[in-house]
Amino acid sequence: MYDNDERPRRVVITGLGTVTSIGLGVEAFLEGLRAGRSGAKPITAFDTTGFAHANGCEVDDFDPAEWIHQVDPEELGRATQFSVAAANLAVADSGLTPEELRRRRALVSVGTTDAESRDLDTLMGVQLEYGPDQLAPTVARRAQAGRLSTGIIRELGLVDVEALTIPTACAAGNYAIGSGFDAIRDGEVDVALCGGADAVCRKTFAGFYRLGTIAPEVCQPFDKDRKGILTGEGAGILLMESLDSALARGARIHAEVLGYGLNCDAHHPVAPDRDSLARCMEIAHRNAGVKPEDIDFISAHGTGTRANDVTEAGAIRQVFATPPPTISIKSMIGHSMGAASALASAACALALTEGFIPPTINHRETDPECGLDCVPNEARPAELNVVQNNALAFAGNNAVLVLGRYREAE
């Protein structure tokens, strides 16, 4: 089951596919991260009349026909369109041809918070106006969480494949990547396409707005004047394979997946728990075989709400004697829900190879209660070896992923 030497395989990321509010495709995403670009603008996904403020981070230049080639985009909800487009981009980035990909046993796992809740919003609108017997069959059929992963299979024509959607809310991307990591490490599959996807929808905006957690203008993680999240959307899909497989085909390696940790606060539906999150980081370090002092920067969950940032910063200080720089790309792309930790993982991989720490933008004054170096407003050049990506979700579902730079000499 294992490679020749009977040890678990090393797992590397060789393809990145990103659909974000600051750029489509990995080049644009990288450029956005370096420049500290903001995706914030007024929401157009639904009628925002009646909300005192309604900014978000939407992907506003996405033409599905440009990115999806085999499946009729009409058969896919917006989140699945993002998921499929990101998978296509990841495969292209990996240099694997579709034929080579189809010959390998694959795992496809896509995390999400809302799956096609945007379609469910639409269907409710129709239902209110015309009655429940008038819902469109195409929309009813595609409004299924499972589609986020099976859409990728249909597009890529995969055959020997296991496809699951992981709707573990806002930590789902890390859950999905972790699952792919385990599957490759044990030789269960040859290649894994994993990440997360979500689309902006009224339901989730209204919910966070009601909780008083939507920022009026911009997202300011760790700032003393932070006012909350901006709902966002997009998809991040990572193509992973064993190191041996990548070396054999001469693939470019973005980063190595060193390990991950999961746990559950089992405490409160929406309020995070500091001790439990700290434990999750320790679990991840153990699984990855690293120590806190090895971590060169943390990509935080960093939503920009009062509760999250202070709890997360506290947990980090609990685990790290001297916390490393801790940033949040949600300042740039908003909270893309199930895509969030997948896109943050992609950002971490790019940071490792390109040698920079992405900034936390919209930053004026660090909240002393957080007390972290959040790399304010401008990207920072840095020689990086190991980075950590935090994700938290409703119900206290924590997931921490550890990535490392791959060096050929090793």
């Binding site: 009601r210 909780l211 008083g212 409160h268 539906p269 929406v270 309020a271 509760a307």
Partner: protein, 92 residues
């Protein structure tokens, strides 16, 4: 009991009913000044839920900053009274 201009006895009973329903306690357990968090085990979600249901029941808007005052029945009645007054003033 503080007298209020816009919330009558019936309105007060409605408010108490809403809060007790959310906190899952018997109305007899709640006094005008017993504190939701300390005495009735309310959490942050309970507080925002109370605000939300009152907005819908009375057709008013309550700023989330008012949560700081909405710590017991007395405080909530005062906040609702002011919000009803503000609504009445706005419709003049």
């Amino acid at each position: 009991m503080t007298t209020t201009k816009h919330v009558d006895a019936e309105g007060r009973a409605t408010i108490k009913g809403i809060i007790c329903d959310i906190l899952e306690i018997d109305e007899a357990e709640m006094t005008d000044t017993s504190r939701f968090k300390e005495d009735h085990e309310a959490d942050s979600m309970g507080a925002i839920e109370i605000l939300s249901q009152l907005e819908r029941a009375f057709g008013i808007d309550i700023d989330q900053a008012e949560l700081a005052r909405m710590v017991n029945l007395e405080g909530v009645v005062t906040v609702v009274d002011e919000a009803v007054a503000a609504k009445a003033a706005a419709s003049l």
